[in-house]
């Protein structure tokens, strides 16, 4: 099946001028015809010596040009063409779709949630060993090692200047590591393999980085050309369908909102069907609705089995989206599943809230099975360290009732990824303090 037209039309060779007088070349074929006629005029003027004959010749060539222009031209520029000529003015007509186009869009959307694509080999998508990067005296990354499995969503967390972006740039072959080794998308990270690696991955930097004067489709066409893709139009349509932007394909990028630009950048990253996708702060500066759309997209990509490395400052985003996270602060502080990190870093605990402080809490909490320790918390209640909250809670309730305490609540205290992050980063701050 040929690709759907999606609101555009084949480009005519000429187009009628907006003033309504004459035609101007639009496609290269039109320019070639115009060039040939101009050359013919030059030759004729040089060869012919009488003024009348020259005038007749020039007029004849102008007539030929206009006849050719009329025969091979498209319709007079409509508002869409005006937008093309003056891209700062965003003119968008409501798009009417044929049933065929709607069918294609539905198919493309369905394909966006295909079953997970797995690597033919069982090796990791990314394996990093002792990666170090120094800029002169400053160490940006120090002996970082981790691995990311195929189809995994891997989060990079860390404060500003922690080396997250440096890691992504290094793995993306933009900068060379000072020491260490890595395998990216199954290819060893060496100077010789840089082009091959860049062909298998896609990096979406924090800023969308689109050419403002080009339309969405032209931006994507350009990048498709750089990836050497064939069947460019269906790929562009698929990428735009994935981010729900098919109807904005003809809009200049400088007329899009920040959220839409971010979606175009994601479409660009998906264009080459990358095995590994690096997303650097994909929701930075987006409103909650746009952020949610990006999250949904990441979810859809995960379903397709794309390996995603997500760099973010938003801890709740990392907790929700990532299978595993790495906390980086020049050195790698920890790697693991968010719940695993919580368990690894924090003892499990029960929070007790009473109407009034207990008279002798040490006597109440002593001897309760499973309670390993306690301390008052900041809210006037108590926090008890326990080995198993479900086992300790009934005994604790009985002990409190027996002590005559008016209990408001007993609950398991859940630590967030933010607690893990702050704990680790605070440790670093403390360690660096003189």
């Amino acid at each position: 099946m040929s690709p759907p037209d999606l609101g555009s039309r084949p480009q005519p060779w000429f187009v009628r001028r907006r003033s309504g007088v004459g035609y101007r070349p639009l496609a290269w074929q039109g320019w070639a015809i115009a060039g040939v006629l101009v050359a013919a005029a030059v030759v004729a003027l040089l060869v012919v010596h009488t003024s009348t004959a020259r005038i007749v010749l020039v007029l004849a060539l102008v007539a030929v040009y206009n006849a050719v222009g009329w025969r091979l031209s498209g319709p007079r520029p409509d508002p869409g063409d005006a937008a093309e000529e003056a891209p700062t003015v965003a003119v968008r007509k409501p798009v009417e779709r044929t049933p065929e186009q709607l069918e294609v869009m539905a198919r493309l959307r369905a394909e966006a949630s295909m079953p997970p694509r797995r690597s033919p080999s069982g090796d990791d998508a990314i394996a990093v060993e002792g990666l170090t990067k120094r800029f002169g005296e400053r160490t940006a990354l120090d002996d970082v090692s981790f691995s990311v499995g195929w189809g995994e969503v891997f989060g990079f967390l860390g404060p500003n200047g922690a080396g997250k972006t440096t890691t992504v740039r290094t793995l993306g072959t933009l900068i060379a590591p000072t020491a260490g080794s890595a395998v990216v998308a199954g290819i060893p990270l060496t100077p010789k393999n840089a082009v091959a690696i860049r062909g298998r991955i896609a990096i979406m930097p924090e800023a969308p980085g689109l050419y403002p004067r080009l339309t969405v489709a032209e931006n994507l066409e350009f990048f498709a050309g750089l990836y050497g893709l064939s069947d460019v139009r269906p790929r562009i349509e698929q990428a735009l369908a994935t981010v729900n932007l098919v109807d904005r394909a003809g809009d200049p990028c400088n007329s899009l909102s920040k959220g839409l630009r971010q979606r175009v950048a994601i479409a660009r990253a998906l264009l080459s069907d990358p095995r590994v996708l690096f997303l650097d702060e994909p929701t930075s500066g987006l409103d909650p609705v746009a952020s949610r759309e990006v999250h949904e997209l990441i979810g859809a990509l995960r379903e397709r089995g794309v390996t995603i490395v997500l760099t973010t400052h938003r801890l709740e985003e990392a907790e929700r989206m990532c299978d595993r996270v790495a906390i980086l602060n020049t050195t790698l502080r920890t790697v693991g599943r968010p719940d695993e990190l919580r368990e690894r870093l924090f003892a499990r605990s029960l929070a007790v809230t009473t109407v009034a402080p207990l008279d002798a809490p040490e006597r109440v909490f002593a001897g309760i099975p499973g309670v390993e320790g306690w301390h008052p918390d900041d809210d006037g209640g108590y926090e008890l360290t326990v080995s198993d909250p479900r086992a300790a809670a009934p005994a604790l309730t009985r002990a409190l009732v027996a002590a005559g305490a008016d209990v408001i609540s007993i609950s398991e205290r859940r630590r967030s990824l933010e607690d893990v992050y702050l704990e680790l980063i605070d440790e670093d701050v403390e360690a660096r303090r003189p």
Binding site: V38, A39, V42, L45, L46, R54, P87, F135, G136, R169, G172, T173, L174, I175, A176, P177, T178, P191, K192, A194, V195, A196, R198, G199, I201, A202, I203, M204, P205, A207, P208, G209, L210, Y211, P212, R213, L214, E218, E221, F222, F223, A224, G225, L226, Y227, G228, A265, R268
Partner: protein, 253 residues
């Protein structure tokens, strides 16, 4: 270093599209040559039949010289924008994360600057010759319609434009400010024009052999300039502002 023509074509097409949508560039390409040439052309067409041959030669030579400045000035301004402009609009990093090699990038951008400038120069020159044939005195046409000036124009326009583009791109790679880059590029691309001046005014009388020899020298110079410019386009330097030590570099990618 292997070159993928598809990638070069993609860069070339994108650059041309951007130029076409940028009114400032279109106006510069159209207006600047006309501004350059208006004064000398008026002088040329004001010459009467009584003008002596040295006056005719001087005025015609000045117009032809200005015609050779066009392929130097126009692409210098465009190419100076090529890399620093990408950085300016935040498109450099996404561009460098693609499989495009630096040679392909430079070639695509270079051709997009050279070809329009050479085309404008040739069209201007053709228009000039036609105008001289139609309206100037016969002595002027005789002076213009000779092998040396035609050879100088046809051969040196693309060579000068290529030099100008390579220098402009090299400066653009190292620059952080678009305007500074454009000014430096224009200045740096002028020196080779000296040779063209000598030929145009026939201080060096060009035989076919000497013209070919000088042309070849220009080709070598252009190749060196292109090679130097491509070498300077180092991904790490462009991204973080400094080049990695030699043993860390990512080769010619």
């Amino acid at each position: 270093m292997s070159i993928d023509p598809g990638r070069v074509r993609a860069v070339f097409r994108k650059e041309l599209l951007q130029f076409r949508r940028n009114r400032a560039i279109v106006v510069t390409m159209g207006i600047l040559p006309i501004l350059f040439l208006t004064g000398p052309m008026i002088n040329l067409f004001s010459l009467t039949a009584s003008a002596d041959s040295s006056t005719v030669h001087g005025v015609a030579g000045s117009v032809l010289l200005l015609m050779l400045i066009v392929p130097v000035i126009l692409p210098a301004a465009i190419s100076a924008y090529s890399v620093v402009g990408e950085r300016d609009q935040g498109t450099l990093e996404p561009l460098l994360t693609t499989p495009v090699r630096r040679g392909e990038l430079m070639l695509g951008k270079g051709l997009a600057a050279v070809l329009p400038a050479v085309a404008v120069t040739y069209v201007l020159y053709a228009g000039f010759v036609v105008a001289v044939r139609l309206w100037a005195i016969h002595a002027v046409f005789s002076d213009v319609w000779q092998v040396p000036p035609i050879l100088a124009e046809v051969m040196f326009a693309p060579l000068l434009a290529t030099w100008s583009v390579c220098v402009g791109m090299a400066i653009s790679v190292r620059s952080t400010d678009v305007r500074v880059s454009q000014q430096l590029s224009t200045l740096a691309s002028l020196p080779p024009l000296g040779l063209a001046v000598l030929i145009t005014f026939r201080v060096i009388t060009p035989t076919v052999l000497s013209a070919v020899a000088i042309g070849l020298a220009f080709v070598v110079l252009d190749c060196l300039a292109c090679w130097g410019a491509a070498k300077m386009l180092d991904r790490e330097r462009l991204i973080v502002g400094r080049r990695a030590p030699r043993h860390e570099r990512t080769g010619s990618t």
